[in-house]
Amino acid sequence: MTPVIEVRALQKSFRHQRVLNNLNMTIDGGVVALLGPNGAGKTTLVSILTTLIRPDAGTARVLGHDVVRDASTVRSLVRVTGQATSLDELLTGRENLAMLGKLLGLGRTATNRADELLERLDLAAAGRKAVRTYSGGMRRRLDLAASLIAPAKVLILDEPTTGLDPVSRARVWDDIRQLAIDGTTVLLTTQTLDEAEALADRVTVLHRGGIVADGTVGELTALVGGQSVVLVDTAGSVLERVETDGTRASVAAALERMQRDNGARVELRSPSLEDAFAKLTQIEEVAA
């Protein structure tokens, strides 16, 4: 079966600085989170996959279509919501969606489709107002809706919830989950680990232009080793941490070493995706 996204030996530099370094990646479907610190190359990869920029070397294909040689087919298969909102401030939400629908070839059905979408995303009332009156969260959600106006095989979301309050973020997450259920392949870039943990079937960690890890959240956390025994005070601050290799004997030995006074308690902790991320990208872990 043709992979949904297939990237081979991809390279891209800007002003002699290598941003993507021999990148290989295969996505077969579902929700995939592309995780990486600032400057890891996430947005560059997204720009190549959406035909905005050309790679220096290597290939990228979407459902078998090359993003350089067959850019127009790729443009009909992939929709993207970038970091900057793409909405027209002077038009209403409904007009924005209908316009994009017409540009995608929906013709007269574009307006009906816009109404349907606004209804489904609970934006029907807002849809009649000019976008310049919208809050940040509404803009984001309408921008996401703009990518859904016509059916797409692949949806790429570049940091879809950056700058959103928790309530708006939860709503965007629900929208993304629904898309996955409907069969759209979603590739989302994110800097926040809980987003990857909450949404993704698979997490790909990008660091300095290459992929350093790829797997389910469980697989990635397993990569960083066993559990640790942590001494936590009543306020939740970590007083002491002893790493174990996960065996009964090593955990018992760790417990033995710990002081237990001042009301502190002992907890057994599995590594979180955050631990995995920190280790995989060699970032100094900040004490909790």
Binding site: L77, S86, M99, P151, A152
Partner: protein, 259 residues
């Protein structure tokens, strides 16, 4: 949410141009302040030159008949300058990023801005001519003269708008785009729009004579109130400017940074 997976097919260049023309016209109507300025500024400029300066400038002939063709052309520049800001806003905000990832020719968004500018400016021109009549403009043109004058005016609006569109493509921000435009707005003052070239100092007269605005104004003037026109030179100037703008836009558009 639909579960159909037939991908979007996109639309032809003609259809996307149509969509973007409608969008830009909606912008013109929604942006009430902009529309008011596009019409009020030309009218104010004309009243200033005819009522305020007119008395002092008035020679043997009727100054109002002399100056109105010049005002019409100066106004076209005012109205077109906002195109630079609209184009720049599209290029620097996220909108163009989305258009470029979609299956149609993204540069047709600029066509929308250009056509909307032509429409806006023709409306402003009509208002200016109406007010000119109200304060005593009495051209002796027949229908053919009016058609010729409006034809040249439309061509000039298209040419000057194309230049502003290119400025919008090149400028780094909408604010910068707005600033560059002022240079072009000075051209009519260095032409035969307001005073005959013979009255200018020797060193500046050739500049005024050989820049595009002078032959175009003389052509409109001859079509409306008589005198010597240069229709062929005017048309060639306009087409030449449009051609250069198209080449620059075609070169620049794919090179504008994507983020």
């Amino acid at each position: 949410m639909t579960t159909t997976t037939t991908p979007a097919t996109g639309v032809s260049t003609l259809s996307s141009s149509g969509v973007f023309i409608r969008r830009s016209l909606l912008h013109s109507i929604r942006d009430g302040e902009g529309l008011l300025m596009a019409i009020a500024l030309p009218v104010m400029l004309m009243l200033m030159f005819t009522v305020v300066f007119g008395g002092a400038i008035q020679g043997d002939g009727r100054y109002i008949d002399y100056v109105v063709p010049g005002i019409i052309l100066t106004c076209a520049g005012f109205g077109a300058s906002s195109t630079a800001v609209s184009v720049s806003r599209d290029m620097t905000a996220g909108a163009m990023l989305r258009y470029r990832t979609m299956p149609f020719v993204a540069s047709t968004s600029i066509v929308g801005h250009v056509i909307a500018s032509v429409v806006r400016n023709l409306v402003a021109t009509a208002v200016v001519i109406g007010v000119a009549f109200a304060i005593g403009f009495r051209p002796d043109a027949d229908l053919g003269g009016w058609i010729a004058a409006l034809g040249i005016v439309t061509l000039w609006i298209l040419a000057v708008t194309s230049v502003f569109a290119v400025i919008g493509l090149i400028a780094g921000s909408p604010e910068a785009a707005n600033g560059y435009g002022f240079i072009i707005l000075f051209l009519p003052y260095l032409s035969s729009a307001f005073v005959p070239i013979e009255t200018m100092p020797d060193w500046i007269a050739p500049v005024a004579e050989y820049q595009p605005v002078t032959p175009i104004i003389e052509t409109i003037r001859s079509a409306l109130v008589g005198g010597e026109g240069q229709p062929l030179v005017s048309i060639l100037w306009c087409l030449g400017i449009i051609l250069v703008a198209l080449v620059l836009a075609a070169w620049r558009f794919p090179r504008t940074p994507v983020r």
